[in-house]
Symmetry: C2
Subunit: 189 residues, 2 copies
DNA sequence: CTGATTCTGTATCGATTATTCTAGAATAGG
DNA sequence: CCTATTCTAGAATAATCGATACAGAATCAG
């Protein structure tokens, strides 16, 4: 019993995610989100509570459907440097390269360190990303410089997504990535 | 003839710059800007035209008083790797490290590649930053990998400012910077 | 079919927004 | 002192915001 939803939640979250990636949280209105998802404001509030609820849901979807998925695709069970290099190179293709950027990076910059609607997602997303990088570095290289190497790659990751978002020329990025991983391979035991 | 302004423009631009660094453009209201600067909305509109005019002025002030100044402080006429390394290390102190981040990075992420109130400042700021890095690399290292090395440092720069803004642990960053410049010094002729 | 339940669509609300308007204050030139 | 000019302060405005209210539609259990 009860009227069924007229929309597919995954599709709606995907559309909302794109809207938030394009415009951030503050600059997108409920009307914009309605246009992007095809829902009316009534349905949005009924399904997600409020604008923050939709943002949290879309951010969670991004972490799962984009970040976790990318990690699994490129690292899988191998967790090796080659896979991690391919992961970095993939940032320059889809979907981050579509000028909307990465929702994790965008949210980190929009909301900063203060408690916000994005805090939970930011903590989860950064932890997931750093853990994936650390897994590879620790497994393949190890030693006392793991923290250094993990930080270096995390910085590179964020830097790439800023330049993509800014629409800057990223043609030199693949070479930077390959150069970085070449150096990492020299540290292989 | 005519009533003089009751405020110091540099002070006002500094305060507005901090407000925009903290909250971005969309999330800060004229009322917020009035509170931050001590001006009434009447004075803001009289002096800067509108909110975008104040943003443009504050962004221009940031590029001149922060970015250009930092470049001159650390590179000066020497334009050597040591100065550039100190410049990078200084990002982890003041004023960027105060959790507000860099207005250039923040604006790049907030507005993206589309035409916006920040477009002009973004183009100028990125060009100034890249030119300063390129000056050092070309002068001290040169060769066919200049583009690669410039891109690598620009990526590192943006990455650092994202992590600072996000309030992430940046304790490993100095070591990353020193490691990066150690490698660059190996390329010195 | 009936009734209970949940969803949809839209009208509407109060709050907030950027901006304009305006009256008065402050200065300099004459 | 007087007047022209520009600034300041804050009230007023229209638009937009997120959120709510509510009537009707859609479903299913019985």
């Amino acid at each position: 019993m009860t009227r069924p939803r007229s929309f597919d939640e995954t599709t709606v979250l995907h559309d909302a995610m794109d809207a938030f990636r394009r415009s951030g949280f503050a600059s997108v209105s409920i009307k914009d989100l309605g246009d992007a998802t095809g829902l009316t404001s009534g349905s949005i509030y009924n399904a997600f509570g409020d604008k923050e609820g939709l943002y949290r849901a879309a951010f969670g979807y991004y972490i799962d459907a984009v970040i976790r998925r990318r990690i699994e695709t490129y690292l899988g069970e191998a967790n090796d440097l080659d896979g991690l290099e391919q992961l970095f190179l993939s940032l320059l293709c889809a979907p981050e390269s579509d000028e909307h950027g990465c929702l994790l990076t965008n949210a980190a910059v929009e909301f900063g360190a203060q408690q916000s609607v994005a805090s939970e997602g930011l903590a989860e997303g950064f932890a997931m990303l750093e853990a994936a990088i650390r897994r590879v570095i620790e497994r393949q290289i190890g030693g006392g410089q793991v923290d250094l190497l993990v930080a270096k790659l995390l910085l590179l990751y964020q830097g790439i997504l800023v330049l993509i978002r800014a629409g800057r020329n990223v043609s030199a990025c693949p070479a930077v990535i390959r150069s970085e991983f070449e150096q990492l391979r020299k540290l292989l035991p």
